[in-house]
């Protein structure tokens, strides 16, 4: 049974998003995604300061198996990247919803969140995929 925390929002493309105490949004990839990717060895990412649109690829995860693009669920400015991933990209595998977070975005349009999935809807997405 996949781990899908109830308090987060999700994108179809297996990213999660949550608001932090400053009104910014933290994003990462889900536990389901990291299991599909396998051991991650490098993470390439957009620079802090760049503006991104919802659906843009903001990072690339190179795993032993493959290369995968990671997309931002919302538009805004990249204000931080999880620097621990430089030396420890495997944090995405071991703690996808916690220490494996990817970046923080200052949102330009919070209404975009309405297009995202709650944990139940994301659970359905995974169930669909497994057929």
């Amino acid at each position: 049974m996949a781990n899908i925390p109830k308090e987060l929002m999700y994108a179809q493309t297996h990213e999660w998003i949550k608001k932090d105490e400053n009104g910014h949004y933290i994003i990462g990839v889900t536990d389901h995604a990291q299991a599909l990717l396998g051991d991650i060895v490098f993470v390439d990412h957009k620079e802090v300061g760049e503006y991104v649109c919802a659906g843009d690829d903001v990072a690339i995860a190179e795993s032993v198996k493959a290369v995968s693009e990671i997309f931002t669920p919302i538009s805004g400015e990249v204000i931080a990247f999880n620097h621990r991933l430089e030396e420890e990209p495997e944090l995405i595998n071991t703690d996808a919803f916690g220490e494996g977070w990817l970046m923080i975005i200052r949102p330009s349009d919070e209404s975009e969140l309405q297009d995202l999935l709650d944990s139940e809807a994301y659970r359905d997405v995974i169930a669909e995929e497994e057929h």
């Binding site: 490098f42 032993v64 198996k65 290369v67």
Partner: protein, 366 residues
């Protein structure tokens, strides 16, 4: 075809992520192929290699037959020893690689790949028709590899009846009795053994090794370990369309004794070794992973002066950067690069071996 080894349930119980491997249901990993890789380099790991093909060879012409089908010379080994060899076709293309063991009373055992089972088995049967030799494929046995610096110690504790014999066993040798065939061979670049035993006995051995803290390792780690060691994968780094000089295995051809006629010899003699595009090693210290079939460009003064291709590529867990084997022409003073996501990334050409005894063979300058 969907075959399961005798350890299938054990793999499931250990959390194995099962994939199809040439018709065999085998674990890719048991949670983390990186952790499994490190376990083999630092301690000890075990691999279910029961999908490999085992064929026993007996008969008055057994040795003579092997002198014909093997490009290496079976006369080099005596009883209790093993030989690594290629099997070539008449065009000197590589049908497969194998290890042949010289057993008592003029009998031999050959182990070759699962991937080539159909083609190579037909080939061997065909070649055996004209000689007095009998081939028996052993699908009644399982095979377990135990590899790593602590492998021999663990084995002595789990199989104490062989402890003395194991201590004396040199690399590429073997011992056998009615229940266990234990060879100091392997595909990881570490010390260790490959054990052939009945399906009935392999589960107990697996569980005893598990209890001794041996890490189960899947196909993912098997591949990263052999790549670090610079070992070819038949069907990927070499195949029927490549001769030994294109695959860094020219050293396995035995030209002595001159009178020995082996399959592929005439074709080899008609080729110029120096004109063959060699298999080299590549390392890349930029962030990224080198992958099979990626083109490699040779550049000089901003101009492309040659091109090659990666045959096997990946991330080296021991070294922390990408490594690859590539078929690449040698152009003096040219630099090499790959192109990943529209960026040209430099790669260093090295010998095709990256880790020996747990250490880097080549020290990168960046």
């Amino acid at each position: 075809m969907e075959s399961k080894t005798a350890l299938y349930e054990a793999h499931m119980a250990a959390g194995g992520k099962i994939v199809d491997f040439f018709g065999w249901q085998l674990p890719m990993h048991y949670g983390s192929q990186l952790a499994e890789h490190h376990a083999v380099r630092r301690a000890v790991g075990m691999f279910d290699v029961s999908h490999m093909t085992v064929v026993d060879i007996v008969g008055p012409d057994a040795q003579a037959w092997l002198e014909v089908v093997l490009a290496n010379n079976i006369q080099k080994i005596s009883e209790g020893q093993a030989l690594y060899s290629l099997m070539l076709n008449h065009q000197a293309g590589i049908l497969d690689d194998c290890i042949v063991y010289a057993r008592a009373d003029g009998r031999y055992r050959m182990v070759y790949n699962a991937a080539t089972f159909e083609q190579v088995s037909s080939w061997l049967k065909q070649q055996a028709q004209s000689m007095s030799v009998r081939l028996t494929w052993r699908d009644d046995v399982s095979m377990l590899a135990v590899q790593g610096p602590e492998a021999m110690t663990v084995l002595a504790s789990v199989l104490p009846q062989y402890a003395d014999a194991l201590v004396r066993l040199k690399p590429f040798n073997f011992i056998e009795d009615e229940t266990h065939f234990i060879a100091t061979t392997g595909y990881t670049g570490e010390q260790g053994v490959e054990i052939i035993l009945s399906h009935a006995n392999v589960l107990a051995l697996w569980q005893a090794l598990l209890a001794a803290q041996v890490q189960p390792c899947g196909l993912g780690a098997r591949d990263t370990l052999r790549l670090e060691a610079g070992f070819n994968l038949s069907g990927q780094d070499m195949d029927a369309s490549t001769n030994p000089w294109m695959a860094n295995v020219g050293w396995t051809i035995a030209w002595q004794p001159k009178a020995r006629q082996f399959i592929g010899k005439e074709a080899l003699l008609s080729l110029n070794e120096k004109e063959q595009v060699p298999l080299v090693g590549l390392i890349m210290t930029e962030k990224g992973v080198l992958r099979s079939q990626m083109p490699v460009y040779l550049m000089q003064g901003g101009e492309q002066v040659g091109q090659g291709v990666i045959t096997s590529g990946g991330f080296s867990p021991t070294l922390g950067y990408a490594i690859a084997l590539a078929r690449l022409p040698m152009v003096p003073n040219a630099g090499a690069e790959v192109r990943i996501r529209h960026r040209a990334l430099p790669v260093t050409i090295t010998q095709p071996a990256f880790v020996r005894r747990g250490r880097a063979v080549h020290q990168p300058t960046t």
